[in-house]
């Protein structure tokens, strides 16, 4: 006696036309008289149709099914039924009762064959969740957690990069501000020097119009020798030269003795004791005087009131940054004009 599995396989082979003729006839005679076998044949036939509708058949079985089994119109009708109910069941399981183009729930249709059909609503039958779906859900959750973790790490790195970029931007901004400030100061210095130049020109013009005998009274020559120089590194003691300036004085000519150096030019800054700038001059060339060099500059006398002044000398090399050369100290004593 054949086992249930053998019988099942035999029925499948029979339905798909895979049995040789003698075996086929023998099987047909069997189910003609065997009630149980015929019932099983019908059940397996419907199951085979269901399997085809749901795509559960192998490629070879599908081919035989389409070529041999579906020759019968009744079987094709059964297949249509199986396909429809499969679609319906899949929609039920996925939680969407019908697809968009499936009008099952079009309860407004006038073609409804039964008034009870109009009572159809979105009904979601709750079925037990298959185990594989639970595992898929768990796997999906794990994958989602990993992706979220990776995104969080990536987000953290990006935030760090952004923070670093912000710091760089702030530093560059500070540098630009400092540069702008420096430029503004340079412009201010240039503007001041232009004003000084105008003042000097004015003084020279006045001197040219003065009588020759009065020139000696209006120009005051001040010479500051090397012994007055307080160098940047020499550490020599501060020595202040006192210069009396008459009320008629128009111009003070400063002569600063300096030792020979590699500096190409010098910047001079004349400041009061409170460090307010009185006069400035840049790009001053030293003139040779024996084994020494001299820096000469003229200052309108009106700029120098009584008080102590610092003359700051900065050397400018052919290349590179300027550096402090030394300081001279001068005390002006203005005399009142005779009444």
């Amino acid at each position: 006696m054949s086992s249930p599995n053998d019988t099942h396989s035999l029925i499948i082979s029979y339905l798909l036309g895979l049995l040789p003729e003698p075996e086929l006839e023998r099987f047909e005679r069997s189910y003609l008289t065997n009630e149980d076998l015929f019932n099983e044949l019908q059940e397996v036939e419907d199951e085979l149709i269901d399997d085809y509708a749901s795509g559960a058949l192998t490629g070879e079985q599908r081919a035989s099914f389409e070529k041999y089994f579906l020759r019968s119109s009744q079987r094709r009708e059964k297949l249509a039924f199986a396909t429809a109910i499969t679609e319906r069941a899949v929609a039920w399981q996925s939680g969407t009762l019908v697809s968009a183009d499936n009008p099952i729930l079009d309860t407004t249709s006038p073609d409804l064959p039964d008034s009870s059909s109009s009572k159809l609503h979105l009904i979601f039958w709750k079925g037990p969740v298959p185990a594989w779906r639970q595992w898929v859900a768990i796997a999906a959750a794990v994958v989602l957690a990993i992706v979220i973790g990776m995104l969080w790490l990536r987000n953290r790195d990006l935030r760090r990069q952004l923070s670093s970029a912000d710091a760089n931007y702030a530093r560059l901004r500070q540098e630009v501000d400092a540069q702008s400030k420096s430029t503004a100061e340079t412009k201010a210095e240039l503007s001041a020097e232009q004003q000084q130049t105008q003042m000097l020109e004015s003084q020279v013009e006045q001197l040219q119009t003065s009588s020759v005998d009065r020139i000696g009274d209006t120009i005051v020559n001040v010479v500051l020798g090397l012994d007055y120089l307080v160098g940047a590194t020499r550490g020599s003691e501060k020595k202040v030269k006192t210069q009396a300036v008459s009320a008629d004085a128009r111009l003070i000519r400063l002569t600063l003795d300096i030792a020979p150096s590699s500096f190409e030019s010098f910047n001079i800054l004349l400041r009061r004791a409170d460090e307010s700038v009185v006069w400035r001059r840049s790009g001053l060339k030293a003139t040779p005087a024996g084994d020494r060099r001299k820096l000469k500059l003229s200052i309108p006398a009106e700029n120098l009131s009584s008080g102590e002044y610092q003359i700051r000398v900065v050397g400018v090399p052919p290349e590179g940054d300027a550096e402090l050369f030394g300081n001279y100290f001068l005390k002006i004593e203005r005399k009142r004009a005779p009444r």
Binding site: P4, Y14, L15, E25, E28, R29, L32, T33, E35, F38, N39, E40, L41, Q42, E43, V44, D46, E47, D50, D51, S54, G55, A56, Y68, R71, S72, S73, Q74, R75, K78, F81, A82, A84, I85, T86, R88, A89, V90, W92, Q93, N102, P103, I104, L105, D106, S109, D111, L112, P113, D114, S116, S117, L120, I123, W125, G127, P128, P130, A131, W132
Partner: protein, 203 residues
């Protein structure tokens, strides 16, 4: 579907019961009239299944032809000596089958070109309407099933491809029955649903 089949065959059986050839057939199948009728229906279904499996376009007609031939033989006085009438009927059915095979095959419906068919401007609308009616009937009939049966049927059909096989095993295990028992239960539910849909559509 099986109930529809029975109804149709029995109706035909009653109609032809008046014919002498058919009466001879029934007497040959079983002297008891009721038992003969049941045996006729039972054998008719099986023969139709054989003819269907063998590619007959109208299996029920072929089964009828088989019985008619046996009836005529009996009416003509042919003595059929057999202890197993179904086996004799099977032999006649083989002859009918071979004759069917020798007939030229009709052109398959699928191969008839659409432009050779009369154009129905409302064909699409009609098809859509029929489809809607069909789906509504299916839905209605599903709801008429007991809740447990409906859920069992939908769960059975819900899985696709290879998972369907696994689902059957799992469902049978959950129900505590063999897969063959589950198959039988689904078979009955499915037939019930088909009958319901057919009735619904006929209204």
């Amino acid at each position: 579907m099986s109930s529809d089949y029975n109804t149709a065959v029995v109706a035909k059986y009653k109609l032809e019961l008046q014919g002498p050839a058919f009466q001879a057939l029934l007497n040959w199948l079983n002297p008891d009239r009721d038992c003969a009728g049941e045996e006729y229906v039972r054998l008719h279904r099986r023969l139709a299944k054989i003819f269907e499996a063998r590619g007959c376009l109208r299996p029920e007609d072929c089964a009828d032809e088989t019985f008619n031939r046996v009836g005529r033989q009996l009416l003509e006085g042919k003595e059929i000596r057999t202890d197993n009438p179904p086996i004799y009927i099977d032999g006649v059915a083989r002859l009918v089958l071979r004759e069917q095979w020798r007939k030229p095959a009709p052109e398959p419906i699928e191969e008839v070109s659409a432009n050779r068919l009369p154009q129905d401007p409302d064909a699409d609308a009609t098809a859509k309407s029929e489809k809607e009616a069909w789906h509504v009937c299916l839905e209605t009939c599903l709801q008429q099933l007991p809740s447990e049966s409906r859920q069992l049927l939908l769960e059975y059909y819900a899985e696709e491809k290879s998972r369907k096989i696994e689902t059957r095993s799992r469902m049978a295990k959950q129900l505590g029955v063999a897969t063959s028992v589950l198959r039988n239960r689904i078979f009955k539910l499915r037939n019930s649903l088909r009958g319901c849909v057919a009735t619904c559509l006929a209204r």
